[in-house]
């Protein structure tokens, strides 16, 4: 049931000795679930994502992907299994949207059908030949998601996303989350760093709550997304909107009782 495609074992990382950015994180990344990584600014969320991606190596501890030590997985195999969506892309040259999406297949066999499907799914057909760097931030995020989806077609097991909807309009936020839920349903482990608690509350299966480099809570959304757990970490007054008649909203999977939060500064 809970087959972990990725395992983090006592993972620590710091740029300078004595100043850990990520500290002793042990967690499993389950397949077929959407895991939201939440926490205040500078909690180490993005660093954790880069450790899982393998761009950074843990100063202590180990990460395994599909039962093998992450570092020992060949680049091509890793790319087939794991894809990544950054919050922003640092493109410097005017590649067209379709070039950028096609790059997802760089280390993998070409897959024309995946390309066509993904362009349609991410609403990119009209932008096909536009230079990526001339798009709005939200449009760029759609392209980056499409690239990762193109890459994940076939052998994809894990997708790591860093605030993938931060610049999107409302429709595309939910469209994107919907795409991610489908990936999840197809068996991928989807790990999303996000800031919007209500978005996490609406879509996440599992939630990792980070604070100052540590994983202070991890588990099902029911256990983590509670004012009592969130308040001390965020340092604000958080209220679950119980006063509403429906007592919350429905999750995408149709489960009722998903919370909606309101926050204000504590006096």
């Amino acid at each position: 049931m809970n087959d972990a495609v990725m395992r983090l074992d006592e993972v620590s990382f710091g740029y300078h000795p004595g100043e850990p950015v990520v500290e002793r994180i042990t967690a499993d990344v389950p397949s077929g679930q959407l895991t939201a990584v939440i926490g205040p600014n500078a909690a180490g969320k993005t660093t954790l994502l880069k450790l899982m991606l393998g761009t950074l190596s843990p100063t202590r501890g180990a990460i395994s992907l599909n039962g093998k030590k992450l570092r020992s997985v060949a680049a091509g195999d890793r790319a087939a299994m794991m894809s990544y969506v950054p919050q922003r892309s640092s493109a410097n040259f005017a590649f067209t949207v379709e070039h950028v999406v096609a790059m997802g297949r760089f280390a993998l066999p070409w897959h024309g059908q995946a390309m066509t499907d993904v362009m349609a799914a991410c609403d990119l057909e009209k932008l096909r030949r536009k230079p990526f760097i001339e798009l709005s931030a939200g449009q760029q995020q759609r392209v980056l998601l499409a690239r990762a989806m193109c890459q994940a077609t076939g052998d994809g097991r894990v997708m790591l996303l860093d605030e993938p909807t931060s610049a999107m309009d409302l429709r595309h936020v939910h469209q994107t989350m919907d795409r991610l839920m489908r990936l999840r349903d197809a068996g991928l482990a989807v790990v999303v760093v996000m800031h919007d608690l209500n978005l996490a509350a609406r879509y996440a299966d599992a939630v990792w709550l980070m604070q100052e480099g540590r994983l202070v809570a991890a588990g099902s959304w029911r256990d983590v997304l509670k004012p009592a757990v969130l308040e001390p970490v965020y340092g604000v007054k958080i209220e679950e909107m119980q006063g509403r008649r429906d007592g919350g909203t429905e999750g995408r999977s149709g489960e009722p009782g998903r919370p909606v939060f309101d926050a204000r500064l504590a006096e």
């Binding site: 740029y15 880069k50 991606l53 393998g54 761009t55 680049a75 091509g76 890793r78 790319a79 087939a80 794991m82 894809s83 990544y84 950054p86 892309s89 640092s90 493109a91 410097n92 040259f93 005017a94 590649f95 067209t96 379709e98 070039h99 999406v101 096609a102 790059m103 997802g104 297949r105 760089f106 280390a107 993998l108 066999p109 070409w110 897959h111 024309g112 059908q113 995946a114 390309m115 499907d117 799914a121 989806m149 890459q151 994940a152 077609t153 076939g154 052998d155 994809g156 790591l160 489908r182 990936l183 197809a186 068996g187 991928l188």
Partner: protein
């Protein structure tokens, strides 16, 4: 239903980026541009052989033609290697303003050669001279590039801005060392060096060196074309390139070595010539887009055509009795041209 995990039986994994596939393939427009560039190279080459008159097939005619062919070969090789060197460095630094000249690679090669000349003058070297300049140029270019490479490493990755800064400093130090050697040299040698530092296609270099550098350049260009897909991916952030399955470290080493060799070769033939490595990739990118496989081929042809074309103009207009160093002309034409190309970026703030 299961849209994301369709088919794809595990097929043998191709060498990354080794084939033109999917959206990376050349369009009809790309082919037209490449053919046009090829035609341009042909036209300027024929003009270069022709300009200055025709002396028949006698003794005189043959030796004139041989000299022109030698200078033509040098021009083509130098132009192509500088343009491709610039393309490679720009991809690596994710910065369209990088070039072998700007990063101190050209001046490094020049310093190596000058140092070798000076050693020769003071009699410190003699018998090993046969390979002296070649080796010295390569050592100089690679040392400069090595210093730039090592000093700009940050946490195991290259910081593009830091690299540019280090490059500018290395360039300045090389320039100072060149002045130093220049001053220590006797007047005659100093004159030769000064001329050569302007970027001068010197026919005294001879066929043997030309063929050597030409082969090196062709090999390096082929390797650069082969690495084109990887360079495309490498223009995105480290994390993205890594996630797409690129071994950035290996690619950087490879591309750095190629850029260093190409620059050393060009300096060996013609001294340091600026702007080619900056302008050609830039111009060709406007025509062909940023995909490196096409860009490398296009830049090579544009660079070759630009140098030889400038030589033709020098001969035709009889600038400095037709012997004006092509490097001086390139700088005079190249500077304003580059400013014009930068126009859209100037005054646009730091968002580019």
């Amino acid at each position: 239903m299961d849209e994301t995990r369709t088919d794809v039986s595990p097929s043998p994994r191709p060498i990354p980026g080794a084939s033109l596939k999917g959206e990376g393939a050349a369009t009809r427009r790309d082919r037209v541009v490449l053919i046009a560039l090829g035609a341009l190279v042909l036209v300027v080459s024929v003009s270069r052989l022709w300009v200055g008159g025709w002396f028949g097939f006698g003794e005189l005619g043959r030796s004139v033609l041989e000299l022109r062919a030698l200078e033509l070969g040098m021009g083509l090789t130098v132009g192509a290697s500088l343009a491709v060197g610039g393309t490679l460095l720009q991809a690596l630094l994710r910065n369209p303003l990088a070039s072998p000249y700007l990063l101190g690679v050209s001046s490094g090669a020049a310093l190596g050669m000058m140092f070798n000349q000076w050693l020769l003058y003071i009699g410190a070297v003699g018998s090993i001279y046969i390979m002296g300049n070649q080796v010295a140029a390569v050592i100089g270019a690679m040392t400069s590039l090595g210093i730039v490479y090592v000093l700009s490493q940050k946490r195991g990755t290259i910081d593009p801005l830091g690299l540019l800064l280090v490059g500018v400093i290395v360039n300045a130090v090389n320039g100072a060392a060149i002045m130093f050697i220049n001053y220590l040299s006797p007047r005659g040698l100093r004159g030769d060096m000064a001329l050569w530092m302007m970027g001068y296609l010197d026919a005294n270099t001879g066929w043997w060196t030309l063929v050597l550098v030409m082969l090196l350049t062709l090999t390096a260009i082929c390797a650069a074309v082969w690495l084109g897909g990887a360079m495309d991916v490498a223009t995105f952030s480290d994390a993205e390139a890594h996630s797409m399955g690129l071994n950035l470290h290996r690619l950087r080493l490879g591309v750095f070595s190629l850029a260093g060799l190409l620059t050393a070769g060009s300096v060996l033939l013609a001294g340091p010539i600026g702007f080619i490595g900056l302008i050609c990739p830039h111009l060709v990118r406007m025509l062909l887009g940023p995909r490196h496989r096409l860009l490398v081929i296009g830049s090579a042809m544009a660079g070759a055509a630009l140098i030889v074309g400038a030589e033709v103009i020098i001969k035709l207009a009889d600038i400095g009795q037709g012997k004006m160093p092509v490097g001086a002309i390139m700088a005079i034409i190249g500077g304003p041209l580059f400013l014009w190309m930068l126009r859209p970026q100037l005054g646009r703030g730091g968002d580019a």
